[in-house]
Subunit: 199 residues, 2 copies
């Protein structure tokens, strides 16, 4: 790396800090930028520089947003009576990509984890409850992950919401589509057997 | 990708243009930057923005440099009587990393390739000759690659320099170190047999 001029070493060093980008890749990216049109290089620089300044959280669902409300909360076609509770932006985007959901979201910003000292006050459960009290909500779908933290958070939220007049549902667990049964773990198979349905 | 606010989509789009970075990786990098400290994000942006402005070519060897002379040409400890002719910066860096060379370089900026209409005037052969005429040079090591273009460029340069009082050498070809003979191609083995030496 010392065989390059300082400005190139600086770019290689900064690229190398990104996840999944090692020294060799950082070097190749810097060399690519040197040969790329100046406009592309400046556009990449400007877009990264503007990123954190122009992105905040939606005041309703706490998803990433460049305005007060995110596109989903601002959309007139989404069903405002259904709320899908997810851990974070990535999970929300995954559900959006599936195209199977047309309601609103609520991002917790974390999952309950006593081991890491994360309790109910550290994630947005109070916001969820006040949202339910203020709006007419028919159904809350709890779409946290199926690991220990996700399951316990789902169970906690379901208990906290049990007094409200709405249905509380959980996304189904089972064998993934296209999955080969012999590669599926035992707990998933057990869940899939328990939740079997008539054809 | 449409599930993100515009500034994030812009960063994902720009990252996606880099070599070896697909949509998924670009998304992960953008998400990482959103969670990274603002200073890291701005530093990455600034370093990329400054890259092309602050890097030019060394006036002597044509390597990338942030000044008039690159670090190697400006160094007082390098042997100025030996010149290593390479195709580009990457080849020069590879030789520097080996630590086996202490002379100066000359970057051709390409290789002869009649198929692509690249002739002797399109690469820096004239600069090489005028450098040899103006300076006291004892040896020219031709370190172009061992593919067709590299070999023909080496042969052309060796013919053009034959009238000057200096020794012209070519880097050795043979079996790579740590190489298993059964995986080495026939042409390389033939070269290695021809260039065998006493132990």
């Amino acid at each position: 790396m010392n065989h390059y001029p300082a400005p190139i070493i600086r770019v290689i060093h900064n690229f190398g800090k990104l996840p999944g980008i090692g020294g060799k890749t950082a070097e190749r990216l810097a060399m690519h930028l040197l040969n790329a049109p100046e406009a592309d290089c400046l556009e990449l620089s400007a877009s990264i520089g503007a990123l954190k300044k122009s992105v905040g959280l939606c005041s309703q669902c706490f998803a990433l947003s460049d305005g007060d409300l995110c596109k989903i909360c601002a959309s007139p076609v989404r069903d405002r009576a259904i709320l899908c509770v997810v851990e974070n932006q990535a999970d929300m985007v995954a559900i959006e990509k599936s195209g199977a959901y047309t309601g609103l979201y609520h991002l917790l910003g974390g999952l309950l984890s006593p081991m890491d000292n994360i309790g109910p006050n550290d994630i947005r459960i109070r916001d969820l409850i006040s949202k339910i009290e203020k709006n007419t909500i028919r159904e809350v779908i709890i779409a946290t992950g199926t690991n220990v933290e996700g399951e316990s958070t789902a169970s906690y939220i379901s208990t906290r919401l049990s007094g409200y007049p709405l249905s509380i549902t959980r996304i189904a667990s089972g064998v993934p589509m296209g999955g080969d049964l012999k590669y599926v773990d035992q707990v998933t198979l057990k869940k899939a057997m328990e939740a079997r349905h008539a054809l």
